[in-house]
């Protein structure tokens, strides 16, 4: 490792840095650059969502009624709480309190697991109903609901894109394509984030961090908060505004 604790309890910085602060700033800047790529990656999905929702709004409206707002809300609260405990994990490392830091980080991992368990129930429910993307979609009731919804719309609100009912029935699985890809990629980030937090928890428990050096905790924290940030936008877009 480039940064190791010496016998007198201080930390050595890597030789190509001026001091520990310089090393911390450089590492953090790298993490921020990575965060920008994350934002742009999810940004592409959000733009795709914007375009398709503008064109085929009825599918998204009916689709959002198939999601469980209660489970989504609980997951939002769980993720926000985990962001809070993650911030506390960094705080206690800054204050040289490894015991409290480990507790906060373990709570963060537990929140991540809770999130994934709830996600599992949601996913298995959807898969059970045949609400999956592409050719595996098997839920005529959903397609019929989309058709009924369009038929009930005032004629002057119909646009060329949605007035072809048969085509709308055919592309109805679109919504679940967005749902599974966006929440799936996000869930993947939650799993990766939980593993990274486990890594810094173990390092904290071994006393390898302190107020002088806690860069990995800060970096993992930034990653975890970005995961929370993306969910803050995903939740209303998928569950609430149909």
């Amino acid at each position: 490792m480039s940064t190791v604790k010496t016998e007198d309890g201080h930390f050595h910085h890597a030789h190509h840095f001026k001091n520990l602060n310089h090393q911390y700033d450089s590492a953090k800047q790298g993490v921020w650059l990575f965060m920008v790529t994350e934002i742009l990656m999810f940004g592409g999905l959000f733009v795709a969502y914007l375009i398709y929702k503008s064109l085929y709004a009825p599918i998204f409206h009916v689709g959002s009624t198939y999601l469980d707002v209660k489970m989504g809300s609980i997951n939002t609260v769980v993720l926000i709480t985990s962001s809070f405990t993650m911030a506390l994990g960094i705080y206690f490392n800054q204050k040289n309190k490894p015991k409290q830091a480990v507790i906060a980080l373990v709570l963060t991992i537990l929140c991540a697991l809770t999130f994934m368990v709830i996600k599992y129930f949601e996913y298995s429910h959807k898969i059970h109903l045949g609400l999956v993307p592409g050719k595996y979609f098997n839920n005529p009731e959903f397609q019929q609901k989309v058709a009924d919804f369009i038929n009930a719309m005032p004629i002057e609100n119909l646009t060329p894109a949605i007035s072809d009912i048969n085509n709308m029935k055919k592309i109805a699985p679109l919504y679940f394509g967005f749902y599974f890809v966006m929440t799936g990629l996000h869930g993947f980030h939650v799993v990766i984030g939980a593993l990274l937090i486990l890594w810094v928890t173990i390092k904290t428990a071994r006393g390898q961090f302190g107020s002088e050096y806690y860069t990995p905790v800060e970096g993992v924290g930034l990653f975890w908060h970005i995961v929370d940030l993306i969910w803050i936008y995903l939740f209303p877009l998928l569950y609430l505004v149909g």
């Binding site: 001026k18 001091n19 520990l20 602060n21 911390y24 700033d25 953090k28 800047q29 921020w32 650059l33 965060m35 920008v36 790529t37 934002i39 742009l40 940004g43 592409g44 959000f46 733009v47 914007l50 375009i51 503008s54 064109l55 709004a57 009825p58 409206h61 707002v69 809300s73 939002t76 609260v77 926000i80 709480t81 962001s83 809070f84 993650m86 911030a87 506390l88 705080y91 800054q94 204050k95 719309m153 609100n157 646009t159 894109a161 949605i162 107020s211 800060e218 924290g221 930034l222 908060h225 970005i226 929370d228 940030l229 803050i232 936008y233 939740f235 209303p236 877009l237 609430l240 505004v241």
Partner: protein, 202 residues
């Protein structure tokens, strides 16, 4: 003052992007306003922080070619000094002290009550988002939800991600990422809203 210039430029860029949405009645005044604001801020920072006026006065005094406006300029410089930093001499000292001790400089630690406050704001935001979604405001539902989400995101960025106390570089990195995302969204939206017929409400 550097920040004012930075954000002024961002302001112009954002205003330019939003011109197609606001229509050309509202757009140009915003662009011109942002440009003028940045220009005034820029000039002020040149005078107040880089000491252009101070140097000018000094130069004229040395050569004795100031003429009758010199006392006036001196008065203006004094007023700016007083406004810019009341305890300027002390501040400069403290700043130098900081630079010397850069090696042992501690990172800004946000106290726990602030974190708790942010957590409460985020939970409140979630409650508002869910509550508002139960009421039908038509197209405004999306706008409100995105507005609340953006406020929540700002709190996460500023406090949980320490961006409020971070160095300028990290803020600019994040800002540029967000800026290019806005660019992507804005031009995609401009395309889809002008080319295809879009359902705005049911």
């Amino acid at each position: 003052m550097d920040l004012v210039i930075q954000y002024g430029l961002y302001g112009i860029a954002y205003a330019c992007i939003f011109v197609p949405f606001f229509g050309f009645g509202l757009g140009p005044p915003v662009v011109i306003g942002a440009a003028l604001g940045s220009f005034i801020g820029n000039t002020y920072s040149l005078i107040a922080q880089q000491g252009i006026l101070k140097n000018f006065i000094k130069d004229k005094k040395e050569t004795g070619s100031g003429g009758p406006i010199l006392p006036l300029l001196e008065g203006a410089q004094k007023a700016i000094d007083g406004f810019e930093n009341p305890g300027s001499a002390m501040k400069v000292e403290a700043h130098h002290e900081e630079e010397h001790n850069h090696d042992s400089e501690k990172h800004h630690i946000i106290p726990i009550p602030v974190y708790v406050g942010v957590l409460l704001v985020l939970l409140l935001g979630t409650v508002i988002t869910v509550a508002v979604a139960q009421v039908d405001f038509g197209a405004m539902n999306t706008v409100i939800a995105m507005l609340v989400a953006t406020i929540k995101a700002s709190f996460v960025l500023a406090f949980f991600m320490h961006l409020k106390y971070d160095n300028l570089m990290n803020r600019v990195i994040f800002g540029s990422g967000f800026f290019f995302l806005m660019l992507l969204i804005a031009f995609s939206a401009a395309d889809i809203f002008t080319r295809a017929s879009v359902i705005k409400a049911f």
